[in-house]
């Protein structure tokens, strides 16, 4: 019995070659693709249909919650629950509540965006099938990889392998599934 696969992976020398490979794979009807690169490739992400619009929304919603909570807490504590007259100043001195409100809004937005980022990326994780591929450590320096995942409806190990080999990569390797 053959080993269950996570996918088939091809290694390329340049981001341009990777881009061509992704385009070719999409033309052939593959839909479940993953690409790896040592630096951000905005155009390729667009090609793979990655949409990151959720990030600013997380920031906005978190900022509003943070600001609301902070202003509300200040108002309730200093006006309602523990009104303290300091030199006859108004209890609801809203200008004095603004700096902390803005700061805490930024705190919530910043923390929610960065922690939300990790949640979306499903990190931290201890292992991933791609790490088993020999030579994959160069993905963090100077090599570019395209992986056709086995969950792709068109996936068939031999066909995918010969398709990738036709793209003249540095190497084509199987990515065994972990579990």
């Amino acid at each position: 019995m053959t080993q269950r696969l996570h996918g088939i992976m091809a290694e390329f020398k340049t981001p341009e070659a990777l881009m061509e490979a992704v385009k070719a794979a999409k033309r052939s009807g593959f839909t479940k693709l993953d690409a790896f690169s040592p630096f951000p490739l905005a155009d390729l992400a667009k090609e793979l249909g990655v949409r990151t619009t959720v990030i600013p929304w997380i920031a906005l919603v978190a900022a509003l919650i943070g600001a609301g909570l902070q202003y509300g807490a200040q108002y309730w504590m200093n006006v309602v629950d523990y009104p303290l007259n300091v030199g006859g100043r108004p209890l609801d001195s809203w200008p004095a509540f603004i700096p902390a409100t803005l700061i805490v809004a930024i705190l919530w937005a910043g923390a929610a965006t960065l922690l939300g980022l990790l949640l979306i990326l499903r990190l931290p994780r201890l292992h991933h099938p791609v790490f088993a591929v020999p030579g994959f450590e160069r993905a963090s320096e100077d090599r570019f990889y395209l992986c056709i995942l086995s969950v792709d409806p068109l996936f068939e190990a031999e066909a995918a392998r010969s398709f990738l080999e036709a793209l003249t990569p540095q190497a084509v390797r199987e990515v065994p599934a972990c579990d």
């Binding site: 902390a100 930024i106 993905a139 963090s140 100077d142």
Partner: protein, 437 residues
Amino acid sequence: MSSNAQASTSPVAEVPLSRRFGLIWWIALGASGALVLLLGYTLISVTIMGVGIWGVNIPFVWGFDLINYAWWIGIANGASLFAAILVLRRHDLRTAVNRFAEGVAFFAVICAGIFPIFHLGRPWLFYWTFPYPATFEVWPQFRSTLTWDFWAISTHVIVTSLLWYVGLIPDLATLRDRARRKTVQRIYGIFAIGWRGSVRHWAYHQRAYRLVAILVLPLILIMQSTVAFEFGVTLVPDWHETRQPLHFVATGLAQGLSIVLLVAVLLRWGLRLGRYIDEEDIDLLGKLVLASALVSGYLYLDEFVSAVLADRMTQEATFDRMIGDEAGLYWTAIVYSILIPQLFWFKAARQSTIAAVFVGFSIGVGIWFDRFSIIVGGLQTDYLPSVGRTYSPTLPETGLFLGTVGLFAAFLLLFARFLPVVSMFETRHDEHEEETS
């Protein structure tokens, strides 16, 4: 398995992975470690014996604690502000500078945070500034600038450390992949949290990083203004000025830039990173330092002009700071933070390591005297006929200050030893863009 790739950024990764780091590093770490011990000693003694061992007393309730707090927070905010602007402008300088500019900001804010907590006198009760449901049913007074400060410092620490770490993750993955020893690989591997360079991950990572970097911009402006408001909201004639926030933001930026320049030339020299922090970067930093010093100079001029136009009491108080008993502080600040940086009009000075270290230091020293002049000199003339005494730091206060300098230096040395000091993935990205264009 470890990668032997000879990529353009490999030399940066080789620095943290090298087995030996030279005698100078050990000597420097030893010296700063000794100062950290001194810091521990002064903090324990002030905790046990109370703030009576400091030179502060009515009306000089703020001495070295607030001078050094305002000074460190200026460095932190200046460096953060600079890093945020570079990201916002997508400027090429960011690849070389951002990593350690954010590092400088993070280390400086830790040093800054020590002072207000111990200034409380009972540092173990510092959490009283946080609104928690206490049994005595008393809430913090949010109309006080001091509570704004609590939120500002804690937000700065949390947001800059998170931002710094998230920016480091891909580079930690590079170190994990290049590590030759199993233990080293495991340690970097844990901190790299399984980063695998997926293009999808990169897209999210960049969006989030950029967004939060931009959020830091308003945070810094509010925070530095909050420090200034601590003086502005009092009734002391020289402090009760709406120009204070501008003064603190502008001089803070000069200070942050000068420390970033100082660290840049030291890293470049010490780690031989001339290729990543190149001459153009240093030249541009020098010009920015000069420009920020000119802005500080303009604000000193503005201080003089507004004093001329102000009421008699304010006028007397401001002029007293310039020509009174504490005038030395004021003029030292002018010489060090405004006049000496004028050296940078000359290209040769901007290119010279020694001149950059000299100017970087001198702005740091100059702004420190500026804070001293504001906090101590500003109190010399009050509405009371006689102030009666003045302030001078005692030995435990000086030790505390030197201790934070040591802590900052120790953090920087460890950072240079164990982490990539320039962003490797940004450098790769830039080099690729240059090749294709």
